[in-house]
Structures are given as C-alpha cells and as structure tokens.
C-alpha cells in the first residue's frame, strides 16, 4: 500500500487549487495499484498554523496533518500563486514542518494562477523550497492558469507528473536510505541514540 498526501492551499470553495489537487490525486491513484490518498486542506488549518507559529506546538487537527505527511510515501503540494510566489498559508505549513520529515520523500509540485505569466513559480519558488527539505521533486511540475482548465494539455501534464510520482513513491519502500543523517524527535523517542554515542559525537566535531 502506497500512501500519498495532498497538501493544497486554496482559499475559496471550490478553489481551482483544490480542483488541480484532485486531478493530480486521481491520476496518482490510477497509476498505483494500491494507494491511500489523504487530503490536507490548509484553509481549515489556518488558525492552528498561526497558533503553532506563536506557541511552538501544533493543535490537534494540524498535528494529525503533520503526522500524515510524516507517514506518507509521496506528497502532492499545490498552491495558488500570491504576489509572485507560493501563498503565505502554504509556506506556513512548511515553516512548521520538522526538519528531516521530507528527507528523500518524492514530491509533486503544482500551482495555479490567473495567467500563464506566473508559470515559473514552480521553478523559482517551489523547487528551491523542497530542495531545502532534501525532498525529491519529480521532474514534471504542473502549473495551471485559468485558461488551462479549458484545454486538454493540462491533463497530459497531470498524468505525466502523477506517473513520475507513482514511480518514485511506489518504489521507495522506506525513506531511511535517504534520511539516516537526520533523525526526527519521533525516531529518538522510539529508538534513542545511546548516551555513549551522544558523548562521542559531542566531542568529535
């Protein structure tokens, strides 16, 4: 069973961002035999995200969303373009994400905007963000301007990107291989690094 989490940051209901997210999710489902898709809609988490920035801990719904991302084999991240970049709400979700949580994780990046003039946002904003997280961004990013929802080209790109994600997410059986350098708090709680090792590391530099 492959698990995929779809993070979308649309604000209206229905939003074109969610629309694109749904198409990407459906195409990924088609590409994989057994898959479980979880949607994380950031609009409903907006208050808890702000609270997290201020208190340092996630409320119950945000905590569940972060856990879903942690467990996911692959991630689909979709944002509207605001002021020439991803939206603040979208960025906030990744601001509170623990480091190491996306190490080696396949991510499909996608964005929506009013016109095609913003299409490079995938390459100048989203790819660097996920490079920072040491995620593996699939080669095809999907950008959809309003016009694209009328044509068939979008569907081709959606299927290609979903296929790439499916290939990576389905094959990477454990993110461990890529993430041995960074252990999360959960890793330590489950299997603590013995103190003698901590002591050696402290003085080794």
């Amino acid at each position: 069973m492959t698990t995929v989490v779809v993070v979308s940051a649309g604000l209206s209901n229905p939003s074109s961002t969610r629309l694109l997210a749904d198409r990407l999710a459906a195409a990924t489902q088609d590409a994989l035999e057994e898959v479980e898709v979880t949607h994380v809609e950031l609009r409903v988490l907006a208050h808890e995200l702000t609270d997290h920035l201020l208190t340092g801990f996630p409320g119950p719904a945000l905590s569940a969303a972060l856990d879903a991302v942690r467990r996911a084999d692959g991630l689909i991240a979709v944002t509207p373009v605001f002021a020439a970049s991803y939206s603040g709400l979208f960025k906030t979700f990744f601001d509170v994400l623990e480091h190491g949580l996306l190490d080696g994780k396949p991510v499909l990046v996608a964005a929506t905007a009013g016109t095609a003039r913003h299409s490079l946002v995938l390459d100048h904003a989203l790819r660097p963000l996920f490079s920072h997280f040491r995620a593996v961004v699939v080669p095809t990013g999907v950008f959809a301007a309003t016009d694209d929802f009328a044509g068939t080209d979008l569907d081709t790109r959606v299927r290609r990107a979903a296929g790439e994600l499916a290939t990576l997410a389905g094959k990477v059986t454990a993110p461990d291989a890529a993430s041995t350098a960074r252990r999360s708090v959960e890793d330590e709680l489950a299997d603590p690094t013995p103190f003698e090792e901590l002591l050696r590391r402290a003085s080794r530099g």
Partner: protein, 362 residues
Amino acid sequence: MQLGIFTVGDVTTDPTTGRTPTEHERIKSTVAIARKAEEVGLDVFATGEHHNPPFIASAPTTTLAYIGAQTERIILSTATTLITTTDPVLIAENYAKLQHLTDGRVDLMMGRGNTGPVYPWFGKDIRQGINLAVENYALLHRLWREDVVSWEGRFRTPLQGFTSTPRPLDGVAPFVWHGSIRSPEIAEQAAYYGDGFFHNHIFWPASHTQQMVGLYRQRFEHYGHGPADTAIVGLGGQFFMRRNSQDAWNEFRPYFDNAPVYGHGPSLEDFTAQTPLTVGSPQQVLERTLSFRDYVGDYQRQLFLVDHAGLPLKTVLEQLDLLGEILPDLRAGFAEGRPAHVPDAPTHGSLVAARQSAGARA
C-alpha cells in the same frame, strides 16, 4: 513530593495598566515572591537564567544566595542553568559555593536556552546546543566528583590538574535535573546519569510530556538506576485562580491574550484545553494538578510558573496565598495511592545519608 514555583525573570508590561516594572522592581519582586513561597509552605523556588532583555535573570547564584540568606527551609534551584553557554567550571564553583552558604539547600536544572544570538555572545553556536549540553555536563559531573581533574574536549580550553573550589558540601554534588521540552537526547542524558528529568510541560500538550517522561523512565531503568517508576521526574505547570472560577477567567484573560510567549495566538479556552494551564477555582487547580500523575506516573517535583505575563506583584502574592491554601490537599492527593517504593526527590540530606550508608557497606 516537592511543590514549588519557578520564574523566568521577565520584565513584562502589565497589559491592563500599560505599566512596565523597572529592572530594580522586578529583581526585588523576585525576592519577595521567593520569600512568600517559603511563607506559604512551598518546598522549592527556582529561577531561570537569561542574558538578554527583557529578562533580569542573569547572575542566578547572586539572586539565590540573597534569597537563601532570607529564608530558612526552601530549596533553591534553577529553571534553567544554561549548560551550553556557561563555562562548566564556573557552574561547578558557583553552585558549590551556594551549597555551602545555604547549608545544602541547593539543586539545579540544566537547560540549553533557545535564543540564538545569546550563544555567539558567549563564543558558542546554538546549532551545537545538544553537543554543548552533553560535553559541558560531562565535565561538570567530574568537577564535583573528582578532586583533581585533567580534561580535554572540544568546547573549552583543556584543564590539567585542576581542582574546582570550594569542593561540594559534605563531598556531595548538588542534585541535578535536566530540563527539555522536545529533545529526547536530554531525557537520555538524564537517564544515563541517574539524574532527574524535568519537563517544562506548560507549552506543549500532555501527550508529548508523557512521551518524553516515558522515554526517560525506560532509559533510567536501562542504565541500571532502578525500576522505571523510581526515576526522578519533575513537571512545570501554570494556573490562575480566584475563589470564583469566572473571576479567574475574566481577570487572567487580558494577561493571557497579551503574554509574550503565547499571546495573540490560541484562545485561552484552547490553550487551557491543550496544555496544563488551569484557570479557575482553587478546587479546579487542585484537581487538574493531581491529574498530571495519570500520564507521567507518580513523580517527585511540581513547579508552577506564577509570576509571568505582566501580572503585578500583588496578584502574584495573592496567587501564592491561594496555592498555600490548597497545599495540604495537594500533598494528601499526591500521597494517595503512591507506592512505598517510589522515592522522594533527592535532597542534600538524603544524598549525604546515602553516601554514608554506601561508605558503611564498603
């Protein structure tokens, strides 16, 4: 069971009056609060350590020694001592001196400090926080237990044939707690040494505190210090009480809403539901506090943060009076159902006795 208070020593504007206490007022208030804590029957007063505004909590041993001179019984502690940016040699000297001056009424809690810019002011790097805590404490641990220490490490200049003076009172190092909110490595460290583990508790949901304490207990047993339920656990907590619950909510809300740490964020309702903060009547504070055992087991030390968010001194002292009133019930509640083999927190007296009985056996 030890019950007490801890302060972070922040200078915060009272949001209801717009008045900010002077540093002098805040420093004197801290002393008044500590004296009051002893007067109402509390067991522990602990001060934080900060080296930047808006805090007045630098030079913690100066504060504690001054309080020690004006009190008889209360244990003087820290919350926390910065083991990362403070030279372990100075910690060894300062707290051993404090131990002598106060006849052993001292323990301390190690912490790392989370303010990035403070580290370079002391020639350190916050990214090395865990490594600093690990190496510095390993040295401190030796300085209090070995008369002559030769040592070489990564973060401080080497020592050759060094003796930290004064030697600890009665040859017994002050008991040490290690505090951490979210670093399992620190729970591991506390367990390795058989020291106490203190969870701040007040900023995070109970489920997280439970995980951290659970790890510490399990590793305490792993390192051969005794069964998991005999590990030495402390928790933070915070409350605001008035005889009438609704009065407590009305009076505390503006302080909460503007508090430096969580203000302008979650609602008071959400925060009291998600964290141990209790706002209400003394009976409600009593019941909530006694429920902490449900997820960490029987534990040894409960410290409350009372002087925060710009609350005026008068209000803080009233809170301590109310805490004093429920203290007998808190003690009775914590004693109820507590297995006989669960130890109390070590004190200077108990450590000296343990050392003597170990010596007699040898």
